[in-house]
Symmetry: C2
Subunit: 402 residues, 2 copies
């Protein structure tokens, strides 16, 4: 087994059972996942092999139930520097994937009423991982950059800039390894010397598209290639749809960089929103067909998609939440702590949303308007307040914290 | 007096008084507007001339109270094909400007606590208008296109396309007659053979910038030049800020086409939002400094700014509202009326927001899933439902109507 210190490791029988399940049943099945949860992976695999699983679950495996190449699969992964990560491992990214556990709870019991397999938000049974880094650590602070394969030079430039900026700030870029926006994103992260993760729709031992074998090799130097499918599996068309939910689930948020109208990237974004993840889109020229999908997302009636133009704005969407979750007690001393009495009163007088004029701030703070005008520049420099064009209000980050 | 059939006309003494007031007191004063409302224009002008108005109002006129060139101003307007339109005229755009009447009601009585004069949302005392069309008719279905003077070729192209598209659909483009986005907007409207309105910060007898005198002449062939300032007045810097509220108020909505960070166009947009008008922005390349202001607006935390990429999308924001206000009884027969019973049940089963799968539609509609699959294509062609990427839902326009 290759890889770094991986913390607690699952029982070998569990890993073997999940390796078998990952090949016996095509990923994305609610019924299989529930059966494995109920019976445990070893008993579930044994029952399926013996043909004694409930009829509906048994049907998912079909003829594959009679085959067992799990040991070969595990060896094949090992030979290419890969491994199988299972939920019983310390390395399993349980926190990011929990959104899928929640989502599958909403699926009906009756198979006929469940969301179709390629669209259903179900957790993976196991993940084949290639590369030396720990999966849970790499995806903890990660963002998905997705978009069209038929991207423009503009889109590739922006994808590269975003990934580079995220990498500089210690964040991992996750994408699908495809042509266009995916490749530009991975390359941008690599250029910043940052880790990047390819979530593939084929086995981790093969690069798809094959023209990207050099890119995958560079990704593997300090990043990971991840897949639900065992080594050797081909990137069948429907597998991309199943794979896309994993990109959304593993990351803190998804940025659509370029997308044509009604494209797959939009579907990924909508799935990310359904999982409670941040969804962002990059605008572009209204004259570009490759920005139509992004603009459609940004016109989303529910206002769930945020316009972003820089890595800093992406982190504003996903970062604040992360810091809150990580350790609220360890929050560093804020700029607010060093303020004078007048400055603090003026700051407290600033509204969260609609900016107000200094006269009103003075009235609310109970001080002279000249005092207000004197302290406002310092408050603005400290990023505590901002000028809206018609008045002063709290800067968004401060408003979110308070 | 030039101009077309203008409906009811104000008393000449009222027009003369308002002409005098428009020169005696710099436009944009809450106190003057309230005084004129209370006393009537003739009495208010007489008191100011006699020096017997309340001290605060008298101070607004200052030395100008002793002069009277109102007859000269009216003659000068007449000579250039202009006139003074007053609230007592049938041509006064009372409906669009009513938002300013409402806004000024929120201003405090004490002068010291009022919004500064260049920012205050106060109705005009009168409007100098040049051109043959009726002002109220032209602005009834109008949209403001605003943006940077230092625009890019991209921005000018989009402004021209939007104005052209609005003009083709019978809508008037209103802008400020400046270089850049303003000029491209007026030209786009003219190219469609549509009326366009310049709201100027100088007298209507002079073109500012002077390089636009040919453009203004073309505007006047079938459109209007409007100003709060009497003939001969210069476009002083602060007058643009006062003028901008009028662009926002006269129109159904404001589209920011290109704007630098923290620009005047953003301030105009925020004022339009404060007046309850639709506010829209055109996205552009994130690499363009001239789109930064638009992107800032679209990132507005309050979500009041809608991304638009075409004239059709602009009219979706301002048109539906307009039709509702105009005559709800005259609403045309909808596509819905011709539907079969099954189709109507399926339509009723479609949720407004989150798309659902055909199986769920069948369950809610109480029919077979094959029936659902049979009627969905027709419903989509009729623009009644839409595919979200994960399911079917009501098309936004239908949802807004129902």
């Amino acid at each position: 087994m290759t890889g770094p210190e991986r913390g607690d490791l699952a029982d070998p029988a569990v890993r073997r059972a999940r390796a078998w399940l990952s090949r016996a049943v095509e990923p994305g099945s609610v019924d299989l996942w529930r059966y494995v949860q109920r019976e445990g992976p070893v008993a579930a695999a044994a029952a399926l092999r013996a043909g004694t699983a409930p009829r509906r679950v048994q049907a998912l495996a079909g003829a594959r139930a009679g085959q067992d190449v799990s040991l070969d699969d595990l060896r094949r992964a090992d030979r290419c520097g890969g491994r199988l990560v299972v939920p019983e491992d310390g390395e399993w990214p349980a926190a990011p994937l929990h959104c899928l556990v929640l989502a599958v709870a909403a699926e009906p019991e009756e198979a006929g009423r469940q969301t179709e397999r390629t669209r259903v938000l179900v957790p993976p049974v196991a993940l084949w991982v290639r590369g030396d880094r720990r999966l849970d650590e790499l995806v903890d602070r990660s963002v998905a950059l997705v978009g069209s394969r038929a991207s423009t030079a503009y889109g590739e430039h922006v994808a590269g800039e975003l990934a580079h900026g995220l990498g500089e700030r210690g964040w991992t870029t996750v994408s699908g390894g495809a042509y266009g926006i995916d490749a530009a994103s991975h390359r941008g992260a690599l250029a910043a010397g940052a880790a990047t993760v390819v979530v593939a729709a084929s086995g981790v031992d093969r690069a798809y598209p094959s023209a990207h074998s050099t890119l995958f090799a560079r990704v593997l130097e300090d990043g990971l290639v991840v897949s639900e499918w065992p080594p050797g599996c081909a990137p069948l068309r429907h597998r991309f749809l199943v794979r896309n939910r994993l990109i959304a689930a593993l990351t803190r948020g998804t940025v659509v960089v370029e997308a044509a109208a009604r494209s797959g990237a939009q579907a990924t974004a909508q799935r990310a929103a359904a999982l409670g993840k941040a969804v962002m889109a990059v605008p572009g020229p209204v004259t570009s067909a490759m920005s139509v999908g992004c603009h459609e997302l940004l016109r989303d009636a529910e206002g769930r998609v945020t316009l972003v133009t820089s890595a800093a704005q992406v982190l504003q969407e996903v970062g604040a939440l992360g810091e809150d979750l990580a350790d609220p007690a360890a929050r560093p001393e804020t700029a607010r702590d060093g303020l004078s009495d007048v400055a603090r009163r003026v700051l407290d007088a600033c509204p969260v949303r609609i900016g107000v004029v200094p006269e009103r701030l003075a009235a609310v703070a109970g001080c002279d308007v000249l005092d207000v005008l004197r302290v406002l520049p310092a408050l603005e420099l400290a990023d505590l307040v901002q000028w809206t064009g018609t008045g002063w209000r709290l800067a968004p980050t401060d408003a979110a914290r308070s």
